[in-house]
Symmetry: C2
Subunit: 203 residues, 2 copies
């Protein structure tokens, strides 16, 4: 499991083309998390990346480009991780537990990224906003389909489908807000607890 | 119920001494929600309040004073509302349902305030931070005590107390992030759904 996590953490930014771009994305992520997107400056981002302000523009046109890229990478990563986790599960309940475990532990493990992806959506221009919204809807549908399948089979109780999907995702998204590594729980424990609570909720 | 809600909404800011202070707090809340605390300026806040920048300083020493006051009012209000709702309930399960219904619907109803209180804690200086943290801990203990009481009586199943309390609060806190009035659900529905999901989770 440790190997898997380490691999995924590296993978998150590994497909970004150059080392400088990767450094800028991570610097921008820290700046957005610390001060909020609006208050973060290109100068601050370049300083955190150990580069000159002019060097930023070689790689990204603006801090909005950096935010868009961070949002895309974050949303794609959590969706891919949830899909991976569901693969090989034999029942709707098994796939729901795998989704929740992956989704919640991802948000704790990548708490800074999870906070920025959850809260800076408002800053995106309409085209980029639509792209991210589509990734979110795909993630929601992935979970909703299993709730529906479980209910149809009579294995799960689902009253309000949309509300229940939102509630399940809230457990994960909010973990990125409160999670701190020193609090004595690890991201995997949070994922397992949430999976257990969700299955109890649906039975 | 409608009367109760209208009364509580008015009450939220009613004890603030002057009409100008109330206007400034609401203007600051909007500015912090739109741009984040760091990016919001005193000039922007005064413009939203329809006052001169100098007039702000008659009432508040800084935008940090405005944030501290907003944080205190928000945290005290949701705690008071949860306590009120629990009063008169005869069992731990009843009090938990009442707490969850009040806590989640409050966060949807006051979504802007809920977002700012959840995410701008980092901006507070240590003394103010400690004051708000104590209000949060009191709220957590209020819920935790009922989970423990229900478990002791053998009426509720509680595995990981701290993790379960956090998960229940996450449902409410995250409602402030995603809730939009036009989405066709009202805050009270969200509260009732979450109360139902939580009781299922604990049985």
């Amino acid at each position: 499991m440790q190997d898997g996590i380490a691999r995924r953490d590296a993978d998150l930014w590994a497909h970004v083309e150059s080392e400088s771009s990767r450094r800028l994305l991570l610097a921008a992520l820290d700046a957005f998390a610390d001060r909020g997107f609006e208050a973060a400056t290109t100068r601050d981002i370049s300083r955190r990346a150990g580069m000159s302000p002019a060097a930023v523009y070689v790689h990204y046109r603006s801090k909005l480009d950096l935010l868009s890229e961070i949002m895309r990478i974050g949303h794609e990563a959590v969706l891919a991780e949830a899909r991976d986790a569901m693969d090989g599960q034999q029942s709707p309940a098994g796939r729901i537990a795998a989704f929740v475990e992956a989704f919640s532990s991802w948000h704790a493990r990548h708490a800074t990224l999870g906070q920025v992806t959850a809260h800076e959506l408002r800053a995106l221009p309409p085209e980029r906003f639509a792209e991210i919204l589509e990734l979110r809807r795909t993630t929601e549908r992935l979970l909703a389909a299993e709730l529906e399948a479980g209910a149809e089979r009579g294995e799960l109780h689902v009253g309000d489908l949309t509300g229940t999907v939102r509630a399940i995702l809230s457990l994960g998204v909010d973990s990125a807000r409160w999670y701190r590594p020193h609090r004595g729980v690890d991201p995997e424990e949070i994922g397992r607890l949430h999976a257990d609570l969700v299955l109890r909720m649906l039975r």
